[in-house]
Symmetry: C2
Subunit: 104 residues, 2 copies
């Protein structure tokens, strides 16, 4: 039978899965779109545009921050969010690389 289960997943595979996870909720997709439509955006604006409670939006923002796709900068009592364009580009490249490797 000789199963070779010793090989775990590669760092690349785990990283890509992590990026995909960050994109795996419609609210987070929408947040990225909102942030792109203005090049800077208060947290409250995002909350107002999503059908979710403020605490929930904050969690989604945290997840996007965790993988580095967005950044938040404190501005007085408000927080100004923006896309991390270089990280976005890296994410896109990683995904395209996978598709290229796999099929297209």
């Amino acid at each position: 039978m000789a199963k070779n289960k010793s090989d775990e997943f590669t760092a690349d595979e785990m990283e890509l899965a992590d990026i995909a996870k960050a994109l795996s909720h419609p609210a987070r997709i929408k947040i990225l779109k909102i942030l792109s439509s203005r090049n800077v955006c208060m947290c409250g604006d995002i909350v107002a545009l999503l059908p979710l409670a403020q605490a929930t939006v904050s969690q989604h923002l945290k997840e996007l921050k965790r993988v580095g796709l967005i950044e938040g900068e404190i501005e007085g009592p408000k927080v100004c969010y923006c896309l991390n364009n270089s990280k976005m580009e890296k994410a896109k490249d990683s995904l395209i690389k996978l598709f290229k490797k796999v099929c297209c």
Copy 2:
């Protein structure tokens, strides 16, 4: 404050999130790679190449089938899996469209 929370997520946003969800586990990324390396693959081969139990791999295959990225065809007692290339391409296009819209 005039929050407009009436707008839910679009079908596009939900579909894209769903695709991302299917890609959000390293085992599923690896399964896609395995299926691309041979253009056809028995379920047992995939199990042998992953550090996971057969039942778990079967669940991951089910998730990939759910979104249509792969297909399984019964061949006697075995099941022959393969990529759904057109669906893969659609998934890639949807992702690229998002990145293009958002930043790059």
